[in-house]
Subunit: 349 residues, 2 copies
């Protein structure tokens, strides 16, 4: 298969883990005889420094003309006080690529279960997916403004926006354990009332999927109390932001979780959920597992299932062979871990 991949290394540890991802993709291309081409694009803080904007037009054009976008990480204290923050580029990228569905699988490696802040028996075998609406709601609705004396944000959703993300959730649940948990605040918010109504309407198309509604405050508790109860969680943009970060922390594998953001048409975007970790940038210490799993998600979306599995197996084998970066209590460098994964891939195929 021929794939044009737009790479956005970004800031902090971004370039280091991107290099790891590209090496692994090159090995996959070699082993399975694919033709992957990579373009490297300015994005985030570095783009602000060099071009004055976090999402230069050239980068956006390049993303739109690629089959997939791979993003490492953006942001850092350096740009926190600036006129433009790296985050605004991320929001514009999501909107421009119409990436309405943010998919975050949350699952715990058995080998790393004791890294969780939760008791092992709480998190063992946890495996669910958060499906977060990513291009609507309070992130984008108008009016939004603030002055010295007041501030307003607006949370609007149309039926179409809700239907397409909820449908995504149902379709995904169908391929998994068949349970959809819709999170809202229907006892307070009008948008949640419409949301819940639409979930109930759509559920008649999916008799095989069990649906539950849960309030966002209760969901924040349940993620800790009984994370195994979840299969697919579907929710709006801001709730998804909060809950998916909470969810990733319960696994104790925050540095290891991947994500995909999809539009249906056009290229999807794949990125680790962790940040740019400026404190360890440039030190060859970063854990590349999250971006490698993001790469695996990408390959799976192109139906390259064996390729995706081989990356995931290579990661698990490397862990089992004691290759652990500092965040996991080991002392492998980013480069060493990557080389080990590449070796595993060569060995497997």
């Amino acid at each position: 298969m021929k794939l044009k991949i737009a790479c956005l290394p970004g800031d902090g540890i971004g370039p280091e883990i991107m290099s790891s991802a590209v090496q692994v993709l090159e090995q996959i291309a070699k082993s399975y005889q694919h033709d992957f081409t990579f373009s490297t694009n300015l994005f985030g803080g570095h783009a602000i420094d060099e071009t004055g904007t976090s999402l230069p037009k050239e980068t956006l054009d390049n993303c739109l003309n690629s089959d997939a976008v791979l993003l490492a990480a953006v942001g850092g204290p350096k740009w926190d006080q600036g006129v433009e923050r790296p985050e605004s580029g991320l929001l514009r990228l999501r909107k421009s690529l119409n990436l309405y569905a943010n998919i975050r699988p949350v699952d715990v490696y058995d080998e790393l279960v004791n890294h969780s802040p939760l008791k092992s028996e709480q998190v063992r075998n946890v495996s669910f997916v958060v499906v977060r609406e990513l291009t609507g709601g309070i992130y984008f609705s108008e009016p939004r403004f603030h002055n010295e004396n007041e501030a307003t944000d607006t949370l609007s959703y149309t039926r179409e926006e809700i239907e397409r993300i909820v449908t995504y959730g149902f379709e995904l649940a169908k391929t998994r354990k068949g349970k959809l948990t819709s999170v809202d605040k229907a006892n307070v918010l009008e948008s949640s009332k419409l949301w819940r109504k639409i979930v109930n309407e759509l559920s008649s198309n999916y008799p095989e999927v069990e649906v539950e509604h849960i309030l966002v405050d209760a969901a924040a508790m349940e993620l800790i109390r009984n994370p195994r109860r979840f299969d697919v969680i579907v929710t709006e943009n801001l709730f998804g932001d909060i809950l998916s970060d909470e969810a990733s922390m319960i696994t104790g594998s925050l540095g290891m979780l991947p994500s995909a953001s999809k539009s249906g048409k056009g290229p999807s975007l794949y990125e680790p959920i962790h940040g740019s970790a400026p404190d360890i940038a440039g030190q060859n210490k970063a854990n590349p597992i999250a971006i490698l799993r993001s790469v695996a998600m990408m390959l799976r979306d192109f139906n390259l299932v064996d390729e995706a599995n081989s990356i995931e197996n290579a990661i698990v084998n490397s862990i089992n062979n004691g290759y652990l970066t500092g965040d996991l209590g080991g002392n492998s460098s980013t480069i060493e871990f990557t080389e080990q994964v590449v070796k595993e891939l060569q060995f497997q195929t």
Copy 2:
């Protein structure tokens, strides 16, 4: 001291734990020679059944004419599909009493540390307070509506609303460990930008208080990763709803946490943070600790410090003597636990 207390037993286990609270207050009145009078008021689902509204005018008037309001719990599946839900009475009560500051202390009983879903070493000695804005933001701002095809909620704050709650947070931090964590989503929300600005302005009045800003998604992680880092958390209404529920779950003592909601002028409201637990209602099984600690918060606010301490000590002693309700793995009934606390109080004074 003479205190007029408006009691709102509400639904589910509400009446049982309210009875426990009143017995303890009566013992305090006896031991310390106070004059407490109690009125019992219809509120919540029961009020809907009997009067058609969850907050009858008589109840509101009675609350306004009391020194303090003690609420047990409202709601239940019975009223979930009705035209009016019990929650709406709660929101109207908050607004009518101008209860802008919701105070939720989160601390872990050493004796119960292993009830937490988190590892004991994560939660031992956790002690912080969530200060949640309770009468503004997306809960109350206009426009808010939904129809078949779209829905809108509005999140507005005025400078005054933000200043008074943030000031509350600073004042509280001054009396504790001197650290204020302000939670917002300033990388996305306009209201959070104003919020953060005001926190920074006010901080110059409190040089002795260390201030940190943290994004709501990061806060959801930090509550699990390192809850001991917090002293006072101040945040807006919806973030406070989500985070305070999450926070209470990490202690594993959800059924034991109290809260106060304050207006500055007029009566404050005290209530357990747990719900009405319809599944065990009427079975003499409910854990009354949360409402008893709410009573202690109330007494403390009237400067009845010895009285408050004696209740808290009586609770700890009862636990240490093996009086535990079912939720804590014991088999004491609500009534037995209450009697034991009353005995401890008689013994102490």
